[in-house]
Symmetry: none
Subunit: 90 residues, 2 copies
DNA sequence: TCTGATTTGTCCGTATGTATG
DNA sequence: TCATACATACGGACAAATCAG
């Protein structure tokens, strides 16, 4: 239990908080906690759950979006993307 | 006055400016000017109040932090630490 | 259409951490 | 010792998009 894939944010380590949060959310997605198509926690919820500012939470979400793990829709939220099944999906 | 416990910075003495500033801040904390839990003056404020550069002020803050007198929170500021009840100071 | 609540988008200001010259 | 630059982090403000009534 000394691994770095914990589910908590630790301000005492060198890794930026937004990268720690991104790692947590990424793990939840890959684990299936947030299945494809499911809406992600809102930025405000991430604020409250992890005790971060909204801007910091937003950076985490932006990273996952850049990785293609989630899709963000203004005014609605971020959704877990489909895990790229195939090109011939139609 | 004219001793080493003045409230002013004197560039004409051998003691580094950051040590002089640290002595001033330390005195203020121990005197109760900055009570426990209270936020310390920002580095920018120390800059302006004592006419030093930010880096110099930072070294003073780092010394007090190393002494356990204050606690620094990234992106927020430094706070006066709670006094240790049983500290063997000699 | 309008209103209100929620959510994301954008911008600004402040402060510390670190690095460089 | 000082000046500058960038990264990290927090907080607030306002706008735009979405949705429910």
């Amino acid at each position: 239990m000394t691994s770095g894939d914990s589910e908590t944010i630790d301000p005492g380590v060198a890794t930026p908080l937004w990268r720690q949060l991104a790692a947590i959310l990424r793990a939840r997605i890959l684990r299936g906690d947030y299945p494809p198509g499911r809406v992600m926690p809102s930025e405000k919820q991430l604020e409250q759950e992890f005790g971060l500012s909204r801007n910091t939470a937003r950076r985490s979400v932006a990273l996952l979006r850049d990785e293609g793990l989630i899709v963000t829709v203004a005014g609605r939220g971020s959704y877990v993307a489909d895990p790229l099944p195939d090109e011939d999906e139609g």
